[in-house]
């Protein structure tokens, strides 16, 4: 279980990025952090990844305080961040250097098959399209079987078709080991497609505005009325967060008899 306890972050220049975040993410749960620009989504993710230190409060993963990067936490960044001097297979196997070459090769081959890149082992990153590079990044993060997977808008630079395809690959991989996933997105449809719970954040300083559960069963039909209703609800919460309204205003009346 992942928990944030009164988590705050103020940068050296005085920017108050996060204020008193209290949140709990269950094991195997997929939580989407949704919010406008500057609401601290990426800052929060960097704190969980151990790339930055909180100013106040603490992050706990299975009871242990997260203060630095951990072997059981995988990160997928907004850009693929592949090492250009390593071929695809070497990029995927980057975190497996403790294993024998034989074991590593088996895991890498399997991971590449799972993301639809079998046969691309020896290619350079420059020879891949943006979507394929992001698939390699997904394979690299998941091949180590992390307990917690952090994703910082990993599909935001991709076209709609590639994004939908990657959602499918990601969910298929997630089904295998069911890691806890915390993802940052500003795409409401993506949040409803992937997440079990949507945490809407509010800027200046970044804080939790609202939490929306998503009971839609997987696989989720993007054209279904329930999916559309879920999107509308998340959009409404997002709008209210940006207008600095109260989180649950009109919610009871509007959602009466709706999908959740």
């Amino acid at each position: 279980m992942l928990s944030f306890d009164r988590l705050s972050k103020t940068y050296a220049d005085g920017t108050h990025a996060l204020s008193a975040i209290d949140l709990t993410v269950g094991r195997g749960e997929i939580v989407a952090l949704l919010g406008g620009s500057g609401c601290g989504k990426t800052t929060l993710l960097r704190l969980v990844a151990g790339l930055d230190r909180p100013s106040e409060g603490a992050i706990r993963l299975d009871g242990e305080i997260v203060a630095e990067p951990r072997a059981d936490v995988g990160v997928i960044f907004q850009e693929p961040r592949l090492f250009p001097w390593l071929c695809v297979a070497e990029n995927v196997g980057f975190g497996l250097s403790h294993l024998s070459a034989f074991e590593r090769e088996g895991l890498v081959t399997n991971a590449l098959v799972r993301v639809g890149l079998a046969g691309h082992e020896k290619r350079w990153p420059r020879e891949l399209s943006g979507g394929q590079q992001q698939r390699v990044a997904i394979a690299r993060a998941l091949v180590t079987r992390p307990k917690l997977l952090l994703m910082d808008e990993p599909f935001s630079a991709l076209d709609a078709t590639t994004r939908a395809s990657l959602h499918g690959h990601l969910l298929a991989l997630w089904q295998e080991s069911r890691p806890t996933v915390v993802m940052v997105t500003h795409d409401v449809e993506e949040a409803v497609t992937l997440a079990d719970r949507i945490v809407v954040m509010q800027p200046k300083p970044g804080r939790v505005f609202d939490e929306l559960g998503n009971p839609l069963a997987r696989p989720r039909d993007r054209l279904s009325p329930a999916f559309e209703a879920a999107k509308r609800e998340a959009l409404r919460a997002l709008d209210r967060s940006l207008r600095h309204e109260a989180p649950h205003q009109e919610k009871a009346a509007e959602t009466a008899g709706m999908w959740w």
Partner: protein, 277 residues
């Protein structure tokens, strides 16, 4: 994989590997056109009596001198002496420049401690070291190699330090996410990331090594292409001087080409516009 993505791979892959190669190999000889034209022009001007061939001998005379030096084995002896000095000086200078550049680039403390002194030393004209090196190391090989090493050191040092300071934060963060130790970070991330800049710095250093070997051999040597220059001057033989200069140019170009050829396989991953220009 979608058809679109498959097509994208084929396009990118073939463009980067394929068709520009034959065109490029044809262009290799293009570099000879200008010197050959200038040589022909000079030969024609001297033959027509429009230019003085005594102080600036025509290519035919220089070619004959080069041939005689080569046939007698003198050229090989002088070239070997020069190359061995450049090789030793380059090795020492490049090693020291790489190590100190990496230290000052990676460690702020090392930068504050070492960089001001090294930058001050860089400002000293190379010739100013000659008397000191002769006093300290004698007139023979050690002082010459030391002078060349000083020349090679600074471009390599600056190149490595700047390259390390310019490494993309995002790449380093991936290394941190995988919990690389400091040593593993250097070996698996920092060194490969600076490799292109390091090779450029080594090429600059090698070029300066050939400049400094002239100064080193002029200050007192019994063999070497620099010695040939002085010998030509003392004997009033401009053809010998030009033959030595041409030998320097050819050796420098060959050494640089060798360095490029050795390092090219390590840079195959680069996504450059080389084939598109």
């Amino acid at each position: 994989m979608s058809a679109v993505e498959a097509a994208a791979i084929d396009t990118v892959g073939s463009a980067s590997r394929g068709k520009a190669a034959p065109a490029r190999s044809g262009l290799v000889w293009l570099g000879l056109v200008l010197p050959l034209l200038l040589a022909l022009l000079w030969e024609a001007l001297v033959a027509a009596g429009l230019a003085n061939g005594r102080l600036m001998p025509p290519p035919s005379v220089v070619g004959r001198t080069l041939w005689e030096l080569a046939a007698s084995g003198e050229l090989l002896t002088h070239a070997a002496a020069t190359l061995s000095r450049v090789g030793a000086g380059f090795g020492l200078g490049a090693l020291a420049g790489t190590v100190l550049g990496a230290l000052t680039g990676a460690l702020p403390v090392a930068q504050r401690l070492l960089d001001p002194t090294l930058q001050a030393l860089r400002a000293i004209p190379s010739i100013a070291w000659v008397p000191l090196f002769i006093l300290w190391l004698g007139i023979f090989e050690a002082s010459k190699v030391a002078l060349i090493a000083v020349g090679v050191f600074f471009p390599v040092y600056l190149g490595v330090a700047a390259a390390i300071q310019g490494i993309d934060r995002k790449v380093v963060e991936v290394g941190r996410v995988f919990r690389l130790s400091r040593l593993a970070m250097v070996r698996r991330v920092l060194l490969p990331a600076i490799l292109p800049d390091w090779i450029t710095a080594l090429r600059s250093g090698l070029g300066l090594g050939f400049m400094f070997v002239v100064a080193a051999e002029i200050m007192g040597a019994s063999e070497g292409l620099g010695y040939l220059l002085v010998d030509g001057q003392q004997l009033g033989r401009p053809d010998t001087i030009i033959a030595a200069i041409i030998s320097f140019a050819v050796l420098g170009k060959l050494a640089d080409g060798l360095l490029v050829a050795i390092t090219r396989p390590f840079l195959a991953w680069q996504d450059t516009a080389r084939d598109k220009l």
